[in-house]
């Protein structure tokens, strides 16, 4: 194994129909028009020395190292800023060029630290010096220089040493062009010019720590602190990030079995070499001291944990689950799979339920996030997934962003979206909160439809009303592609006066004129794209809203081509995959109902067992049945329902009512406080498998270090099945994928071999689409004709009133991730150490609350205490918080209201009151006590561990 080094063409290879031919060093070269001489040379393997150029940035021409000679032209132009032209004859090497380049780098070297020990990360600069044959610095090192400039070590993950900076501006341009944050600038002129993160240091600047500047730096001036501490890595393995649904590819750069750094992989088709602070830097949790590495058991949840061998733990789990089924019936136990786990682990776990438990009691954490996406898109378009690849946004003319906050939740995709917006695409934001994309450097939304929480369907119906009544329907598309009878019924429905923007304004709070203008804008262009997130799904009408989005896109002809579509931004790395793998209790992999005899028959034949033809329990039903005394045993893999699911006290009451709760996780999480058996899990760095991202892209996850707990995570489900008397036999996760492919038509063409060959594929991948399907529904919908659904607005039963006059809505932020298990155990806490309650100045003033006050947040189901943050992002009457820290108890307050179709919780609408207090809530006090008593671990006995 060695370090993977990606080819850098120096400047982007342009996309153009016209090709130009030129001669470089005597060789004929053809490239798309607009491509630089530097990149053209690189296509033939001729590397022209460079420092300020990189093919993910526009050419800049500042370092003057890439000079060439062009016949018939005067001087020595920079090859990075000179476009290749037809008939051009270029020479990249001559005595004159060598002298000039040596002279350039000699000047740089005269102001560069000589101490080789400080040169870590400056490989590109040192290579360039070697390439041009620099042997001496004739000027000496005593003149004016920057060698004493103070380094900026404020960022926890990277250091900035100005002494090594040559002001090539790659970092500034990466921040602008790749990330789109514009945090860096060149301050001063000439010799005084320095790179600055505004007028402050890095940690206090606008910098979002995406790492693009560090990656761009050719001199080691910006460098990962881990490289400084551990030294340069010596080999790397490409794998997939385990945070959000963008699914970025990274090179895990290693020294031995030690991870030195994660570098975004340019060949990764989801991220194309970009990253965010979580994927790039927040991997320290994987080796955190809190990791639990031994299996443990206990009789009662009030007992301390006792470490045992794997055999004993799995044996105990099997015997307990069998005992419960014998005592309480076949349906008294179940499993919950995780969107943080691989497709293969998830497939094994749902198979465990169906084949070994002999019931369909399997559900997944997608229940509480994107289950309405599956239901809504399946009802309208015929498949439970988004329609586009991420790249599609590059051609969007108008973007409708609703209920999503990509700069925080899906930062790498947000950068791509911002790039498109800077290039001129128009933007409509529909969100109760003023998210960053409403106004951010060089991006301003044309319309911010600041609706009241819970009124998405009202807003979407009123947008559709304008489309239909103002003649903006793409009639040719609808006639050719959609069910006309359904369309006619839908058009009559949305055209009724009750759905007009003027009528709906009383619910949404959005001025009718803005709705009309936004609808006209959306319907006026060839390529209009919808992007949405949990702000759509996590409502009592979550599925209805998803259908309303699909209706809108179909009516305007915006499904089936590049630049358009309906695109769910998935929260976790493998939400799409966990749903694809048959984690829902009513369907097998590939979204096929358990009642279908043909489908069930194929699984029965392959698995050699009779399968249940009735749907099983969803997570909320499991909890309800537990409280009723009917559901007694649960295996939870990689999820923390006691923190993430709504109405915490209801969840913990259900867990406490069970006789055997089995948790497999990295840490003793909140749910583990109610568990009887703990099985240690593996971080993504310890896994082989696949994740499927929001664009249906199946990416390989590759093991970079051995499982710290001594057992592959996928083996645990297999061994539990075996211990319960059902044989599963796999030698490697690739064999699980082979089984998935054999049983799932949309995965029929997927194999590890193909993934290794192509990098990734987007399902459907089968005989009809052997290399996958970037855009779905191109010529026809997968169900034939598109289905328009009627989407009547039904207000949520959760209403504000005199006792609870405010509406709470929840979300997540950039530096933390969901329940925070991973990110809380990294230096990301420097940006977000606690969950706070954002409240509008008007609401705060009415309650006498000032910034930083401790406030009680109470709803009809519970109350908790947080610090207030006065924020004009909120509209009056709406407050906002995150749920990254268990002690903040955000979900103690949220209710069990849920989506009518899927029971996805209504996290986004809770009626609350806020008042100043000076103490924590009684739940928080009790929780703190339980933290101390329910997580105790006995010291290991000598023979416990394997």
């Amino acid at each position: 194994m060695s370090l993977i080094k990606e080819l850098d063409y120096g400047t982007p290879i342009r996309i153009a129909e016209k090709e130009v031919s030129l001669t470089i060093d005597g060789e004929k070269v053809s490239v798309p028009a607009g491509t630089s001489v530097m990149a053209a040379a690189m296509t033939r393997g001729v590397k022209i020395p460079k420092l300020c150029a990189s093919d993910n940035l526009e050419p800049f021409g500042s370092c003057r190292l890439c000079l060439v000679e062009i016949e018939g032209r005067r001087g020595t132009p920079a090859s990075c800023t000179t476009p290749a032209e037809e008939g051009m004859v270029v020479h990249t090497q001559s005595e004159k060029l060598a002298r000039l380049r040596r002279g350039v780098i000699e000047l740089y070297a005269s102001d560069y630290p000589r101490d080789v020990l400080t040169s870590a990360g400056g490989a590109e600069f040192l290579d360039a010096a070697a390439e041009v044959g620099l042997r001496e610095v004739r000027y000496g090192f005593e003149g004016a220089n920057h060698l004493e400039d103070a380094p900026d070590l404020s960022n926890p993950y990277f250091a900035y040493d100005p002494a090594k900076c040559i002001v090539c501006s790659r970092c500034v341009r990466a921040c602008e062009e790749v990330q789109g944050t514009f945090a860096l600038t060149v301050e001063g002129r000439g010799f005084e010019s320095r790179i600055r993160p505004g007028s402050t240091d890095f940690i206090n600047s606008e910098c979002v720590s995406c790492g693009a500047c560090v990656q761009a730096c050719p001199t080691g001036s910006l460098i990962e602190k881990s490289v400084v501490a551990q030294g340069m890595p010596e080999h790397s393995i490409v794998t997939t990030c385990a945070y959000c649904g963008v699914g970025c590819s990274f090179k895990a750069e290693m020294r031995g079995e030690e991870l030195v750094r994660m570098v975004p992989y340019k060949g990764g088709q989801a991220n194309e070499g970009h990253s965010c602070v979580k994927g790039r830097f927040a991997f320290g949790y994987a080796t955190h001291k809190d990791r639990m590495l031994k299996p443990m058991i206990r009789e009662k949840i009030t007992d301390p944990w006792r470490e045992v061998s794997w055999d004993e733990a799995i044996g105990r789990a099997a015997s307990e689950l069998k005992r419960l089924q014998a005592a309480y019936g076949r349906e008294s136990i179940g499993v919950i799979t995780s969107s943080r786990c691989t497709n293969e682990e998830t497939f094994v776990l749902q198979k465990l339920a169906r084949a070994a438990f002999h019931n369909n009691n399997v559900d997944t954490c997608a229940r509480v996030c994107h289950s309405p996406t599956g239901y809504g898109l399946n009802s309208t378009l015929g498949t439970s997934a988004g329609t586009q690849d991420f790249k599609s946004v590059d051609e969007a003319d108008v973007i409708l962003l609703i209920g999503a906050n990509p700069t925080d939740g899906h930062p790498v995709f947000a950068s791509r979206m911002k790039r498109r917006l800077r290039a001129g695409a128009r933007l409509i934001v529909a969100d109760p909160r003023a998210i960053d994309l409403v106004r951010t450097p060089h991006v301003k939304a044309d319309y911010h439809l600041q609706l009241k929480p819970g009124t998405n369907v009202a807003l979407l119906n009123s947008l559709a009303h304008v489309v239909v009544t103002e003649g903006l329907v793409d009639e040719a598309y609808v006639r050719a592609r959609c069910d006309l009878e359904q369309f006619d019924a839908w058009a009559r429905f949305v055209a009724s006066q009750k759905n007009s923007p003027e009528e709906m304004e009383k619910y949404t709070g959005v001025p009718a004129r803005d709705v009309r203008a936004a609808a006209r804008l959306y319907a006026s262009v060839k390529n209009a794209a919808i992007y949405y997130g949990l702000g759509i799904t996590e409502h009592s009408q979550g599925s209805t809203a998803v259908m309303a989005l699909a209706n809108l896109a179909m009516a305007t002809g915006n499904i089936g081509h590049v630049g358009a579509g309906v695109n769910p931004l998935r929260g976790q790395n493998n939400v799409q995959g966990s749903c694809d793998m048959g984690s829902f209790p009513h369907e097998f992999s590939g979204y096929r109902h358990v009642a279908r005899d043909d489908v069930r028959g194929s699984f029965e034949k392959y698995w050699g067992v009779t399968l249940d033809d009735e749907p099983g329990l969803r997570i909320p039903n499991m909890i309800d049945e537990a409280i009723e005394g009917n559901f007694k045993g649960l295996f939870v893999q990689g999820e923390d329902i006691a923190q993430s699911d709504p109405d915490t006290q209801h969840i913990t009451a259900g867990l406490a009512a069970m006789e055997c709760v089995i948790i497999q996780d990295l840490f003793l999480n909140e749910t583990a406080k109610y568990a009887h058996i703990f099985l240690p899990g593996c971080s993504f760095l310890e896994k082989d498998g696949t994740f499927t991202n929001a664009e249906r892209r199946i990416n390989r996850v590759r093991k970079v270090m051995a499982p710290l707990c001594g057992k592959d995570e996928w083996r645990v489900g297999v061994e539990l099945a075996q211990a319960m008397g059902y044989e599963m036999n796999y030698n490697h996760p690739s064999e699980i994928m082979d089984e998935i492919a054999a049983l799932t038509p949309t995965f029929a063409g997927v194999s590890y071999r193909k993934l290794d060959e192509l990098g990734s594929v987007q399902w459907p991948c089968n005989d009809q689409a052997p290399e996958g399907t970037p855009i779905m529904h191109v010529d026809r919908f997968v169900i034939g004709k598109g289905h328009f659904m009627l989407t009547e607005y039904v207000p949520t039963r959760e209403r504000s009133g005199p006792r609870y006059p405010l509406i709470l809505t929840t979300g997540r932020i950039l530096s933390q991730y969901n329940v925070g298990q991973q990110t809380r155990r990294t230096d990301n806490v420097l940006w977000h150490l606690e969950d706070v309650l954002e409240i509008h100045p008007f609401d705060a003033e009415q309650r006498g609350v000032v910034d930083g006050d401790l406030v009680s947040l109470s709803s009809r189901v519970g109350d908790t205490t947080l610090r207030a943050k006065i924020s004009e992002r909120m509209q009056p009457g709406v407050v906002y918080t995150t749920f990254h820290f268990p002690g903040s108890g955000a979900n103690v307050v949220t209710t069990d209201n849920s989506d009518w179709a899927t029971n996805c919780p209504e996290y986004k609408v809770t009626a609350v009151e806020v008042r100043r207090v000076n103490a924590l809530s009684s739940w928080q006090e009790r929780n703190a006590l339980e933290d101390a008593t329910m997580r105790k671990v006995l010291e290991a006995s000598p023979d416990a561990a394997e």
Binding site: A595, P615, N621, E625, L790, E792, V794, W900
Partner: protein, 84 residues
Amino acid sequence: MNQDSHSFAHDHNKAKLIRMAKEIADFFHAYPQDQAVESIAGHINKFWTPKMREDFLAAAAEPGLSLPPLVSAAREKVRRRKAG
């Protein structure tokens, strides 16, 4: 926790099933009656376990319970647990 609010959030299981059926009916209310009734029952049959369906039918049959007409009509089409 506020005790008088407890019943709001933690409906008894059967009451919750009735509530869920009403919410399903709220969605299909926009459709012609026959189609709505079929769709409500179809949704329940497709996504609810046999025990949930039995519990719902038992709750819906309780005297004095007033069900919306669509739910009442759909109840006749909800599939019962298979014998054995």
